[in-house]
Symmetry: C2
Subunit: 195 residues, 2 copies
């Protein structure tokens, strides 16, 4: 049974995480202080280290929650064939449009720092995306001379780079349209238009 105090604690934690994710995306990780997070979340400044230890602990917790969100956007088993590609493509499009996805770009710089606390976690996130893509590709008849492992790097790369082009120029880039040609990597033929 969850006590009232536990429930309040859980709620505070969630409010802090939401506020921190917004602020990291808006101002960057380094420019964000516990005082900023306290003001945005309306939770007392002192309770932030109580929940997360340090600012690094808060960063990791924000990242973990974002990974869960991204994972939930992709079907565990997308199936195979053209319909499964359409399914993944819609998942990718929806993910790119989440505010959390901008956070991934903001934190990438942090992850590239030597000795960064989130470097290893970022590598794992990329690995998970590539693995997911590779498992899907392995069930399809691929063009001769290609491997599911390499194509997964290419496809995940394309989604990352299309997302960033769209973030910079949302009225010029159509993510759904730009992801579509990736089906050519699998079949050599363009996808049929969605109904």
């Amino acid at each position: 049974m969850t006590t009232r105090r536990e429930q309040t604690s859980h709620e505070s934690r969630e409010l802090i995480l939401t506020a921190a994710a917004e602020l990291f995306a808006e101002k960057g990780y380094r420019q964000t202080t516990f005082a900023d997070v306290a003001e945005r979340s309306q939770i007392s400044r002192g309770s932030i280290p109580w929940h997360f230890g340090s600012k690094e602990g808060l960063l990791l917790a924000v990242l973990e929650r974002s990974v869960d969100l991204i994972r939930s956007g992709f079907p565990e088993d997308p199936g195979a064939g053209a319909a499964s590609f359409d399914h993944l493509r819609q998942g990718a499009d929806a993910l790119m449009r989440l505010p959390t996805s901008k956070l991934f770009v903001t934190l990438l710089v942090e992850a590239l720092e030597p000795g960064s606390p989130i470097h290893g976690r970022y590598v794992e996130i990329h690995n998970t995306l590539r693995e997911h893509c590779r498992r899907w590709l392995e069930r399809l008849p691929l063009p001769p001379g290609t491997s599911a492992e390499t194509l997964a790097v290419t496809m995940v790369g394309a989604v990352i780079g299309i997302h960033q082009q769209w973030l910079l120029a949302p009225d010029r880039i159509d993510p759904m349209e730009a992801v579509a040609p990736l089906w050519l990597l699998v079949t050599g033929a363009p996808p049929r238009p969605s109904p």
Copy 2:
């Protein structure tokens, strides 16, 4: 005729730009101070605003120099056909490995800030890359149902995203290998291996 004083001024400017580019890539733009740049470049702190006006001016100058470097990595007319793809692929691989390219990722976060002084310049850089790619694609027989304009977004996206995967995990990602399948977007057939 260039006077001795002009030459020294040009040299100081170059030393400041090199130091600033390194520091922005290492520490990020905001964490870098004029004092850091002065120390790294061995040029007096006071002469930095004399050359570049403000920190924003320095940022723009660093970015311009990086754009020139990137532009010089791609042939103005790569030709058409499989050999031209190989040419572009080698250009992309060499560019990804330049330290300057890490700077592009570091500054991307800056460019995404609302009201950023480099937002417009970043959009232009992406436009230039897409234009270059589009002009090359227009000379090739593309698969039915695709357009050079959309494929350019997909291909530039893939190069951006492959670069970032490689930055995070250089021993796991082979950029040359991951770029290769993009030829499938053009022909539906994998490229012949380079001799």
